[in-house]
Symmetry: C2
Subunit: 245 residues, 2 copies
Amino acid sequence: MDIGEFSAMAESAVAAREVIIAFVHCQITYSGRAEAFLGRGDRVLLIKADSTVIIHQPEGSNPINYMRPGSAVTFEKVDQHVMMHVMNSGDKSFLDVEIFRVYDVASRKLEDGQKQDLAGSERDMSDHIRDNPTLIGNDFHPISREEQTDVGFIDVFGHDKQGHFVVVECKRITASLMAVDQLRRYVERVKQIKGTQVVTGVLAAPSITPNARDMLESYGFRYAHVQPPMRLERWHRDQKKIFEY
Amino acid sequence: MDIGEFSAMAESAVAAREVIIAFVHCQITYSGRAEAFLGRGDRVLLIKADSTVIIHQPEGSNPINYMRPGSAVTFEKVDQHVMMHVMNSGDKSFLDVEIFRVYDVASRKLEDGQKQDLAGSERDMSDHIRDNPTLIGNDFHPISREEQTDVGFIDVFGHDKQGHFVVVECKRITASLMAVDQLRRYVERVKQIKGTQVVTGVLAAPSITPNARDMLESYGFRYAHVQPPMRLERWHRDQKKIFEY
């Protein structure tokens, strides 16, 4: 595609809030959350209806560059190239993409009113624990979920049969040192607020790293092996067959 | 595009390690790190050369679904639709995308040997602090960078003129409660290892949340206002003009 045509087409697509996808040969300079330069190569360019800009290299999970929703996107002809300027005044970041070739491009108004129905989140885990308190211990009595404190939200807050407070932090994937830090922060704040030294900390997760486990135990907390609940079980069972092909 | 054609084209593109981009009308079921269902709507489908699969809704920064590199991607004709099955045996996750319509599609072998030249990272900040120790304090003497401990890497480790140890944690964006937790974890480990109670904790960042600042001070640590270094300064200066248009 002629580079001038691309510039005109992309400009009107952005104005019409269409989504644009393209394979381009480009060079990238970024300034904002960091400073970055990426020399010439082939990449995937995605401009969304809300002016989010995402650039991917041919491999890897993460975009090599992205600009948040609500960016200003403009195109400027420079010699035989197109310079795409993207600016986000919210986080004061700038992206300049110098486009030398456009291999393929498409733009279209996309209609999508769907929200994802997600199960197995930390919120689902805390619901699950409230409904099945023995997952934490035989004498655990939940009082509240998502209890707000000035240092964050406690996933499940409760007490044991002696009336001592119990703080539960949920992780739906392997719990790390960060999770132990977080639990400790809540336990200490509960001790302060309630004026007691007897508060139990429990980290509920499907697994935990060895370092996190050591740190957890050194603080006198404990680990509870809890799998995030999976609502869509039928599908999960069906999928297992794939490994049997 | 005919849905059967799409299936054949996508299959051979995946086999040839080409990158595929498409606008599709689809419905998605995911099982793995969580369970998720997303009803019918228009989306952007990206399949990379390393079989990473990324799906975006028309708005927002984050993909609505993704599958890690090295996934197995297969296409199956079901009635008038195509079912794309993606399976990652590494993290035992599954993605089923039922594709009802393909609006636009392109596939291509992309060549990109570039690595991003990044400045302003946490590593750059710790270099910057080592080279400019007064950013932390007039009597700060750095000893090492990225000092490894069993509870993580200390960004900059040093001492003051009285010989007391100083632990510096760097954040290149606003420091949060998590950053304070991390600093505290390192300070406490240094106290244990070195057998001293006098260890100074410093959180170096361009800004800090009020809650994090309160917590930091309650632990007796302090905040140092440090901007991540920006190497590509010329470009940064040029870009400022955009706001003056």
